[in-house]
């Protein structure tokens, strides 16, 4: 009993310390996506380089692909752009760029100014409705979608090599 009286407060303190340290390391701005594990919401949007054609996720069935939400007005997008270019060229992954609330001219110029387009297609989401369907709350955001059309991962903020190796590479390996 006496021993419990000494150790119990220490135990409680220890547990609280672990909880608080963990709390400090969590980023409250990073929200888990409820869309992970669900089928990627369907949409049909005109393309940046050809407004008469449209892109729809259905056309990607059977392939693993990456949906990158970007905008010419998005500062953090500049950081991840070279990586996207590299993955598209070296890793042969299909990246679709969703131009979020952007004027076509601006998106076009931004892509030219930043080393070209890593995207297989650039659907234009001018009013941001498709992004809302995907639960996007800031740009850049990136989704990994598997061959069955299911969202496997969502990344908030600029993507890095760790994102690719952990969440894309395992899916594209034969």
């Amino acid at each position: 009993m006496r021993r419990l009286r000494v150790w119990l407060p220490l135990l409680v303190l220890g547990l609280l310390t672990i909880m608080f340290v963990r709390g400090l390391q969590l980023d409250p701005r990073k929200l888990p996506s409820v869309r992970v594990g669900q089928t990627a919401p369907a949409f049909s949007l005109p393309l940046l380089d050809d407004p008469n054609s449209r892109f729809s996720p259905e056309s990607m069935r059977g392939r693993v692909w990456v949906l990158n939400v970007f905008a010419s007005w998005c500062a953090a997008c500049v950081t991840e752009h070279p990586r996207l270019l590299r993955w598209a060229a070296e890793r042969k992954v299909d990246i679709i760029g969703l131009a979020y609330k952007d004027a076509p001219e601006d998106a076009q110029r931004w892509l030219i100014d930043h080393g070209g387009s890593p995207y297989k297609a650039v659907p234009l989401d001018r009013d941001g409705r498709v992004a809302i369907d995907y639960g996007v709350y800031g740009v850049p955001e990136t989704f990994v979608i598997d061959a069955s059309g299911t969202i496997r991962h969502r990344h908030v903020g600029p993507v890095d090599d760790r994102f690719f190796e952990n969440h894309v590479a395992p899916l594209i390996k034969p």
């Binding site: 929200l31 888990p32 409820v34 869309r35 409705r129 369907d133 639960g135 800031g138």
Partner: protein, 130 residues
Amino acid sequence: MTTPQDDARMKQLAAELRCLVCQNQSIADSNAPLAIDLRTQLAEQVKAGKTNTEIKQYMAERYGDFVLYNPPMTAGNLALWVGPFMLLAVGLMAAAVVIRRRKRVEDASPPEATRQALEARYRNESKVSE
């Protein structure tokens, strides 16, 4: 044109939904572009005659229960709903134990007459030892 009822319903819903960009504001209070877009969605759905439950479900399907300022109780957040009451119960039990123990000590203390005699003896003894 929106009817006054629709307008009131929209305002009430907007106040119950959290803005994802500036997380401590509702989408009624926030002027973040996303909050404005979500308000537009809200207005359209209210106008289309969707019920409050349907609209909230639409938001939660996309952004999770996190957008709801009054989230439903689920297995995942059960601890948050029940936790405070559990802590209160633990505290009350601890208090009860302490109070009961203190009372037992009081009951066990010697009656007044004996206590005075004991005190007197103690005083005399300490005098002797001086």
